[in-house]
Amino acid sequence: MTAPTGTALAAARRRERRRLAVLALVAVAVVAGFCLVGLTGNWEYAMGIRSRKIATMVAVGVAVACSSVLFQTVTGNRILTPGIMGFDQLFVLVQTLIVFLFGALALSTADPRLLFAGQVTVMVVFAGLLYRWLFGREGRDLYVLVLAGVVFGTLFGSLSSLAARLINPNDFVVLQDSLFASFNQVDPGLLALSAVLVAVMAAWTVRLAHRLDVVALGRDHALNLGVHHASVVNQALVVVAVLVSVSTALVGPLTFLGVLVANLARQLTGSFRHLTLLPAATLISVIVLVGGQLVLERVFTMNTALSVIINFVGGAYFIALLIRESRR
């Protein structure tokens, strides 16, 4: 005879909380390590720089974690992330077009907040149009959306490589620099704005959490259980659009971070509940980002872009995931 449901579910919650606590401890340790390892000279100065980097990484971590988990929930898959929607490529295209139309000077001299707001707007509008077009009719297959994302991604990628070929080599260097994720050169004003946006979006996500659990069961089950599926999906997609915009505009594309953290969160917590998955994915994001940056700065002692390391680890994990999926 198995335990009654009350006891069994309470035990499962405790197990999830324990695992979250372990993740939180690891995250704190990594952050402390990042702050303290190799600390010499002027304390205040170094801590100022390091804490700003940490704040950026936490904001990006929350954004990538929440957007990836939400995206996977509403599309009912575990492999694809918002990157598949062509967001990274749109970001690259917007950057490239700015340089192409106004020259590299514009990119480096324009008010970064204005530039940022513009990029976020373009990406949210793009996502909104895409969703409206694809979700306008009820019962449209979500895979159509994903397929459209692939097509858009390719289109934007081709357009930006065309534009990149037309601009002069000096401008191209500036452009390429701004396209690789880096936590070293983030504007403080931009960071504050992003932090507010990310916090609002995260709060919104938590409010949706219980309904997201049901939406993850699929459209029919969600409707049967009285959840307005289309409404939850639309809200989730707006949140995803804003979060991906914020993180991409802040530090550039981090293509494989999302797939890494969303799946690790599922694996490590063994939970389907968003109130567990979202914090778990966020903590893993922070661990990966801060840990990666620590390794980058202290072990490789070179200031190359973090995205290289993350895409290497995340890409390998992604391939492993694909192989495992196909064996099933």
Binding site: M1, T2, P4, T5, G6, A8, L9, G76, N77, R78, E138, G139, A209, H210, R211, D213, V214, A216, L217, G218, R219, D220, H221, L223, N224, L225, G226, V227, H228, R266, F272
Partner: protein, 252 residues
């Protein structure tokens, strides 16, 4: 009472459900029979607002399913479709507990826990409660899904081929449980059933569909006639009275 008025559904040029009007009275078990593609499942999905109708209305106890808020309807009517693939990895207990969502919105009370246990026990899933769905056989999984629907505790229960994947023993048990859901708990159960003999032995009313239209509706005795079954299935089916039930023989 479920009232269906002039409901029509088209996909392109194909009319899948053609101006169906039908009344399903409260209480008892109603089976919908018909050949493949007769529109049974589509009709069931329209009644349960999973698919919007192109024309016509469906009301459940006077509530129009197209306009009534989902959470209100979810406490009156539960539906289970045939294909229940999920990308989420759940245990049987977690799945069944989702049936309480319309009532408690994700925060289960002690009463909810009791009902989950009852539903698990009712479908003989005790030993499997903490197994993941992907570790179960098709029949066990089917029972878990029906347990979730039972746990939803609604007056109306719509099941699309609940006997899918079930062996003879479990199929009979499933139909007996369905019967008891109607008799003991006073629920109104509507089933899509392929096997006319299960429909004959366990339901009060049979609705026959063909080419998207309802061609006949009546008590089991009225409906289990060779002439009528021939019209429904284009097949000669001999009907014999065996052990108090009308059994159709069509195997040879």
């Amino acid at each position: 009472m479920i009232e269906i008025k002039d409901v029509t559904k088209r996909y392109g040029d194909t009319t899948v459900v053609d101006r169906v009007s039908l009344t399903i009275r409260p209480g008892g078990v109603t089976s919908v029979i018909g050949a493949n593609g007769a529109g049974k499942s589509t009709l069931l999905s329209i009644i349960s607002r999973l698919i919007p109708a192109d024309a016509g209305t469906v009301t459940v106890d006077g509530l129009d399913v197209a306009t009534t808020p989902g959470e209100l309807l979810a406490r009156r009517l539960a539906v289970l479709r045939q294909d229940n693939h999920m990308s989420v990895r759940l245990t049987v207990r977690e799945l069944v507990a989702f049936g309480r969502f319309p009532h408690s919105g994700g925060r289960l009370t002690a009463r909810d826990h009791e009902l989950v246990d009852e539903a698990i026990g009712y479908f003989e899933l005790d030993g499997l409660a903490d197994r993941h769905l992907d570790q179960l056989s098709g029949g066990q999984r089917q029972r878990a899904y029906v347990a979730m629907v039972l746990c939803q505790d609604t007056d109306y229960v719509l099941l699309d081929e609940p006997l899918n994947n079930l062996d003879m023993r479990h199929a009979v048990h499933m139909m007996r449980r369905v019967r008891r859901m109607a008799d003991d708990f006073g629920k109104t159960v509507v089933l899509v059933v392929h096997d006319i003999n299960f429909a004959s032995c366990h339901s009060d009313t049979i609705v026959a569909m063909r080419d998207g239209a309802v061609i006949a509706q009546g008590s089991t005795a009225e409906m289990m006639r060779p002439e009528l079954l021939r019209e429904v299935y284009d097949l000669d089916i001999g009907v014999h009275e065996i052990g108090g039930s009308r059994i159709g023989v069509y195997f040879s």
